[in-house]
Amino acid sequence: MSGLDRRGFLKLAAAGALGAGLTACGAGDSGGGDGTTLRYAWWGNNVRQQNYTKALKEFAAKNPGIQVEPEFADYTAFQERMTTQMAARDVADIFWVASAQVMTYHKSNIYRRLDEVPSVDLADYSKEELESFKLGGQLNTMPFGIFVPVFRYNETFAEEDGVKLPPADADWDAWSEFLIDYSKDNPKQRKGMPYEADADMVFEAWLRQRGELLWSEDGNPGFTADSVRAWFDWWDKMQKAGAVLTLSEQEGMGPDWALVGKKVLAKVGNSNHIIDDAKMFPDYSFKLRSVPAAKDAQAGHPFLYYPRMAIYQGIDDDKLEAAGKLISYNTNDPAMIKTVGLTMGAPVNPKVFEQTLAAAQGDDKESLDAVQVSRKAERRPRFEAPPGTSTWRTAMARVAEEISLGRLSTADGAKRLLDEISAGIARAK
């Protein structure tokens, strides 16, 4: 047998190493050649992945010389991947920012200032709107949607069961009493709602109605243990009366809508969720209501939540113009909304919002109407989650779970939540 001798082997190894090196060089050449290649990172479900991939292709077709490499992941995996990429200084050129990380990333200085990128078109926004988008006095992230906390109900079930919902100005107690009565007496033995005492945006609405904030301007919890306890008490009362699903029935905290959609009349959530959730049950009609308002709700309690995107600080300067164009396409171009729909909320551009609202029907209109109510309302400022709070929603889910299981009182749960959040913030400082 004429086997490979030592010299031959070494030559082969050297050739292999050279080839691998050349291949690596080629793979890293994303900015040169035929034009600019941008990496775009976002999260969501399969439908959102397909829609955004299609929209990015349409953008590339309209902008010869710009290619977009999509980097998609599920929400949790997205955050984990971002963490790893940030550690490796290899973040996508444009990326969505998970709500709990907005200020953490800001503190880590990974955002590029957008008001210094001429291709980011800000002409349609008022000065006040642009001010409300800023973090630490800088326009370094761009909202690309708006959503608000809502109560969603299944209109088909309500009609089938012959129930009349509380009036539009009903308060929290009126809703809980209605849901308790409904759960006690409906022919299909449905429950009022899933147990979602960890619904962060509705919780924030609860706090703001009591004159508090979720996060204060100086980066601390803006709420008291009393308000948290009252929130948990509201859920606890419904759970003890059988008006919400048990953790067993909904398979844990953060129930899967596909699993619980047929079991409940209503649910709390965000206005944009109706877009994807309603599609899972095409035979039913869903409607949105503003969250209940406490009788003594403080003025300015409504708020808008903005999902944000950003350009990576470390982006090559020669890609910046293209990145700005893509940001503008995401936020200002009706063609983008046409392709991706309202899955990430109402358009943030006021002109595009009005155009979309005028043409909207069905679930889209429900979602936009809910946002419009809050857009027109007086709103006190809202501040983003400070560094060190990336797991506050996990902490809240854990506390809510233990209360639901009867292992923790609402008072102890409220104290624990506040203590855990404060400890996280203190560590980050």
Partner: protein
Amino acid sequence: MSKLHRQGGAAHVFLIPWWLGLVLVTAVPLIASLYLAFTDYNILSSPKFNGLENFERMFQDDYFWAAVRVTAVYVVVSIPLQLGFALLLALILDRGLRGLAFYRSAFYLPSLLGTSVAVAILWRQIFGDNGLVDRALSIFGLELGSWLQNPSLSLSTLIVLNVWTFGSPMVIFLAGLRQIPEELYEAVKVDGAGIVRQFTAVTIPLLTPIIFFNLILQTIGAFQTFTQAHVVSGGTGGPANSTLFYTLYIYQQGFTNFDMGYASALAWVLMAAIGLVTAVHFVLSRYWVFYGDD
């Protein structure tokens, strides 16, 4: 240069990929994590040395103790059950069953699939609300709902999952059983030993090195359980921290909370615990493991 020497040189060249892997993928991260265990490091900014703070924090961390408790119960309960079951099946298969190769492969399959995401999802279907187990029990009037959402039962479902992956130790037991000389059984039979006596006087003593090997391997594996807990609990370790395995908690701290310094400290405590338990096993093995030449 001698031919032997030249061949040795070529062997070193062949070993380069392995050495690179060892150094770059294992040794460097290992040493780095040891350093990070003494720092405050959030991945996004440079690590800051903070002495023993991370280790002191563990003592006041309720979730740390919950993770220790869950992992300890899992190791102590699931390993004896798994090994016992594996040994029982190996004894049955060793009795010259027809279709032995098929059974051996079939029983080994769960070991290949047991730690996969697919099986953990299957587990949710079996033990979830209105799942297979729930429906079966409801026939007898027992309404337990979702086992996975019951803090008293959730860990037991993961123990069952681990026991179900008995194939790997079973195959090793089977190989060990084949090594026991038939003459020994014949000798004790002549002395009037029945099946039980044959098992306790011949099988078990001669199998103790294999039992010991399986015990060490499975214990280390059990300490590192992650995938099943992550998938079954949706990554939360719930309900009420009942499936908060130690490795899951390390993961949460490192990749969700960005607290890589604390996560590194937790990882080193786990490594120390595994080392200690393994050392204790080795010390105790002097009293019960029989190597034949003792």
